[in-house]
Each structure stands twice: as C-alpha cells, then as structure tokens.
C-alpha cells in the first residue's frame, strides 16, 4: 500500500474525458513523477488530489483516509502540501512572515482567533521559521518583502513554506515550468538536497525530462487521461509505449 492510492478515477468536462480510469500508487519516501504530453490530464489529476476538483467516480485515499469532498485546507491539514506552477506566496508579507504562517497553520489548525497575542511573543514559531530559512539558505533575506524577490527565490520560499509543515506528501506542479536552464538546475539541486536531508514523499508533475530523470524513482506516464505505464526511470527511457505517446505512432 502506498501513502497515496488513486483507484479508478474518472473526470469528464462536458464532452471531454479528462481522466479515464486512473490508478496510481505513490509509495512512502519515494519521488514519484507523473509525466505525459500536453492535455494528458496531469493537472486535472493533481487538482483531484488537492480538493480543487472532485472526480466523477473512483477513490483517492491518502494515509488511509479518503480526500474526496474535502476542501483544500482540510486536505493540507491531512498532510499534503502543494507547490504551484508559478510560485504562490504571500507577496505583500515579509519572507519570515511567509514561513511563519504555515507554522501557525500546523500548530493552531485551520482557524484560531488569536487576535490579542503579539506575533513577537511567538518565540517557538519564529525559531522554527528561521531554522527553515537557514535550511534553504534564505536567512539573509529574512525581512525582505517577498514580492520583490527573484523568481528563483520565490520558488525556494514556496518550498520552504511547504516543507516547514513537514508534509507527508509534497506535490509539485511543474516546478521548473518557464525557467531558464540555470534556474532549473538550481531547483533540481534544491529538491535533491531536500530529499537527502529529510524523509519525504514527493509527487512531481513535470514536462521537462531532464528534471524527471534527475529526480524520480518511479515514473507514471499519462496519455489521454489514462496511465500507460508505471516504471523506474531506466525502463521508461526506451519504452515503446512512451515513445508512441510523445512522438506519435508514425515515428515508431
């Protein structure tokens, strides 16, 4: 049994079958990549996992509990954190505040009316956030306005915000989309570093084969809403079905 078990998931948008009978199992402490050509249903699948979309049928179990019908914040409280395609951070807040908010969410739950306590008195939270910033080499940017940072730093900050919650599963939605090669390599290094430092399960949705083959331990190939194969990276490279999905039948 994996930590995330997707079974027989279907999702239809009007006449378009976005997902047809998707089965997926993500094992604990592995990096699992989901790849596929444009329109394969990768993002739809991800949105079904985090509560943004509800599948028409099938089940999504995380850590023994169903996520279906739960709101995004409830699913996060179960232990799934998500990194977005374009970094989603609190641009009007400082870097340290950005990291403190997930710490509060982890400690106090989805809502708490702590309106009279002072943020400055929350020594434990501040320490935790600073430790996290040190881990991703951003402590020097502690008091910077998060919106004014470079895109690479925003990505790094978003990762820090997810990691500080110590999620059981980290979902990454094309973490290197639209990045220059140098930035892509930095992100790969960052993810490798994270993987080495802590036991974490990651599911990555990615276009870029370079990223996938540098990180993934298991790869699921999705085409036209259905998984074609699930294999190790070595076995994926020359797999005829994968070539077919990416390049079209004529090329085989």
């Amino acid at each position: 049994m994996g930590i995330l078990e997707v079974k027989g998931v279907h999702k239809r948008f009007g006449g378009l079958q976005a997902l047809g009978n998707v089965n997926l199992s993500v094992k604990e402490n592995t990096v699992h990549a989901i790849i596929g050509p444009n329109g394969a249903g990768k993002s739809t699948l991800l949105n079904c996992l985090v509560g943004k979309l509800i599948p028409d049928s099938g089940s999504v179990m995380f850590d023994g509990q169903s996520v279906l019908g739960r709101k995004p914040h409830e699913i996060n409280q179960m232990g799934i954190s998500r990194v977005f395609q374009t970094p989603e951070i609190f641009t009007d807040l400082t870097v340290i505040e950005n990291v403190m908010i997930p710490c509060f969410a982890k400690r106090d739950g989805a809502f708490r009316l702590h309106g009279i306590e002072s943020v400055q008195d929350e020594k434990g939270i501040i320490e935790q956030a600073e430790q996290m910033l040190a881990d991703v080499n951003m402590l020097d940017k502690r008091n910077m306005h998060a919106g004014s940072m470079s895109r690479g730093d925003k990505r790094r900050l978003e990762m820090a915000m997810c990691l500080v919650q110590e999620p059981k599963l980290l979902l990454l939605d094309e973490p290197t989309a639209g990045m220059a090669r140098a930035d892509t390599n930095n992100t790969i290094d960052l993810l490798k570093e994270i993987k080495e430092k802590r036991d974490i399960t990651m599911a990555i949705i990615e276009h870029d084969m370079h990223v996938v083959f540098s990180l993934a331990e298991r790869i699921t190939v999705l085409a036209q809403g259905t998984p074609l194969v699930e294999e190790t990276p070595e076995n994926i490279k020359g797999h005829p079905k994968v070539r077919e999905a990416y390049l079209g039948e004529a090329q085989v």
Binding site: S81, F90, M100, I101, S118, V119
Partner: protein, 395 residues
C-alpha cells in the same frame, strides 16, 4: 507596556496625548479673530472626530487588512444607534448598557450579513454589502416603523419606562450620562483671547476611541492580523497552507461591524435620537472615503481621514457668501462678485465639491493617503538634514 513593544508604546502614548489635548490643538485661533471660523475645537465637532475615527479604525481592520471593501457599514452604525436609544428608553440613561447593546446587536447583524456576503469576493462582495445596507435602511424607514419610528426617527420621551432610573423627577427630557457625569456638560476656559471648551461628551468618546485604537493596534500586531493580511495577499496560497480563510474574514467583518455599532451607540449617547438616514449608502461611502483619504491599512490613517472629512464638512459648509464677500472685499467690485460667485459653489451647500476635488488630488498624488504624505515630508526633511550633515562633516 500593555503588551506593546517600545516603538508601539511610544506611538500609543503620542496618540493618547494628541487626543487628550485636542481641545487646544484644534483651537489655534483667538475666539474673536477673523480666522476663528477655522477653529474646530467645539464639542459637537470633536465628538464626531472621535466617533467617526472609531468607526474608520474598525472599518480598516476589514478593508485595510483583508482587502474586502464593504459598502454597507452604515447599516451597523444605524443598528448601533437604534439599539442604544432603545436602551435609553427601556433601561436607563446611563450610556454603558446602551453602548454594550449597540456593540452586541450590531455584531449579530454583522455575523448574519457577513456570513452571506463573504461567499463572494471583490466587487460582488461590495455589492452584496451595499444591498444589505440599503435593505436595512428601507426596512428602518418603512416596515419596521414600530421599532424605528420611521421617518421621524427614534427619540426618548418622558413616558418611557426606564426601569433602572426610577420615575422622572423633572418635566424636561433626561440627558444620557455616565454615572452622574452628563454627556452634554462642558467647561469653558478663557485664556487671553482664546477660549477652550472641555466637554464630558468629547472626553468620553475619546476614551472609547482610544480603547478601540489600542485594540486595533493589538490586532494589527497579532497572528490573527497576520492571517488577515495573508487573506489580502494570496487567498489561494492560504487555503493550500491549511488555513480556512472564511472564518478569518468573517471574524474581521464582525469585529469591524461591532466598531461601527459602537460608534453608532456613541452618536446616540451624544444626542439620544436615531434616524434611518444614518444607514443610507452615502454614509457607508463616507467611511470608505475616510479610510482611503487617510491611508488604507495604516493604523493612524483612518483616524486622520475621519478628522479631515468631518473638518471639511463642518468648516466649509459654514462659510457662506457674506463671509466670502468680506474676504474678497479688497478686489474691485466686478471682479469681487465673480470670484465670490465661483468660491460660493465650493462652500456652504457645495462643500461636497471641495471634498471631491481634494479626494481626487489625494488619490492621484498621494495614493497612500495622508499618512503617505506625512511619510514623504519626513523623508524629505531627513534627506535635507543628512545633506546638511554631509556638508559640515567635521562638526
């Protein structure tokens, strides 16, 4: 001090000092000088500064922190007024039960209106709150006449039960008070040509407004305040961080509604009557203007904005054509008439024109409001003094 750090404590002390010294600060001109009409240090106006300042402070907790622009806060002001006049009628002329009732009843209203309106954001939220406020206004004006006394407005009468006060002893209407201190009591001190008025009503409002300011300062510095800023910054990230933004926005809405209700209660405590026009949408728009003119999301901005607008309203609406004629009497006859005619459009009844022009100027040149203006001045002065220091390095 009181859970504030050194910088905030200093800030709070300055605000307290300014508030307590307001009767002096707003009376810079001798009573019989030509400029005396620009004095604002009389109780009725100072009370309004404090009351609308309080309302704007509360409004800023919602609009400034979460970015949700409510166009219906006048409803809570009106509800607070009605609730406290009812307390004056039923219980006692003491303002304490009246203010408590005003705050609680408006809190309940805010909970109901906020629960529905906060299902939408942006312009839809604004329109929903506007619609609710107009509904409250129309209801108060017509259907709910038994409770609100419709067009005439709710007033106290000699035949009210007032069960805690006992039977009326005089034939004149009682005035609201705070354990024996009458709200309309005032003491005037004349120093040289100046005359300063100290009224119980103003100081009572000022103390309540200061408590409101202190609470808002605490909220700004709290984890809750940080969450509200997170709502404004990125609600998507917030939800995917395991936080439910709905109760946070609802709490902010209810808190700001209670501030407005308390302000409405104070209005009734200063003058025990409540009319439906207090709930009109123009009144809701006014608090939005105050917050924007002063500086959205800043602590001091809303108070400054409230003072600025109430000052303009009272001072410019008092100026009439004969005052203008006396100002421009040095001009040749024909020219004087023309100049007076032009200026007359902007004063008296037309003071809204002046307000409109100033609002446009502020929003265009100082998007951060009066607070930003102050900051720019301070920065310029600092730059100048730094430049001076650089010129004379050896000193």
């Amino acid at each position: 001090m009181l859970g504030l750090n050194a910088k905030d404590s200093r800030f709070m002390l300055i605000v307290v000092a300014l508030t307590l010294l307001t009767p002096f600060i707003l009376n810079p001109f001798p009573a019989d000088s030509a400029l005396a009409q620009f004095n604002a240090g009389y109780p009725a106006l100072m009370q309004r500064f404090a009351i609308y300042g309080l309302m704007a402070i509360g409004f800023n907790i919602l609009f400034g922190l979460t970015g949700y622009l409510s166009f219906g806060h006048a409803a809570f002001l009106g509800v607070g007024s009605y609730a406290s006049v009812w307390m004056f009628k039923l219980l006692s002329m003491n303002v304490i039960p009246a203010l408590i009732a005003a705050t609680l009843v408006s809190g309940v209203f805010a909970l109901a209106i906020g629960y529905v309106s906060l299902r939408r954001s942006g312009i839809y939220f604004s329109i929903l709150t506007l619609a609710f406020a107009e509904m409250c206004y129309r209801l108060a004006y017509s259907v709910l006449t038994p409770i609100t006394n419709g067009e005439t407005g709710l007033q106290i009468t000699l035949s009210d039960p007032r069960i805690l006060d006992g039977a009326p002893t005089s034939s004149s209407l009682p005035t609201p008070g705070f354990f024996g201190l009458k709200m309309n009591a005032a003491h005037t001190i004349d120093i040289a040509g100046w005359s300063f008025t100290f009224s119980v009503g103003y100081y009572f409002c000022a103390v309540i407004a200061l408590i409101g300011f202190y609470l808002s300062l605490r909220i700004f510095r709290s984890p809750f305040g940080m969450m509200l800023r997170a709502v404004k910054s990125n609600q998507q990230r917030m939800n995917y961080t395991g936080l439910n933004s709905r109760p946070y926005t609802l709490a902010a809405f209810v808190i700001s509604g209670m501030y407005a209700g308390l302000a409405g209660g104070l209005l009734a405590a200063m003058d025990p009557l409540a009319g439906a026009e207090r709930m009109q949408w123009t009144a809701s728009g006014e608090v939005v203007l105050m917050t924007i003119v002063g500086g959205v999301g800043t602590l001091m901005g809303p108070v400054l904005g409230a003072g600025f607008i109430k000052y303009c309203e009272n001072i410019f609406s008092k100026i009439n054509e004969s005052v203008l004629h006396s100002w421009f009497s040095f001009l040749p006859d024909g020219v004087e008439d023309v100049v007076t005619w032009i200026f007359a459009r902007f004063v008296g009844e037309g003071w809204h024109l002046t307000l409109g022009v100033m609002f446009m100027l502020i929003v265009t040149f100082l998007p951060g409001g009066l607070v930003e203006g102050g900051k720019r001045l301070a920065a310029r002065r600092k730059k100048k003094s730094d430049a001076d220091a650089a010129k004379h390095p050896a000193e």
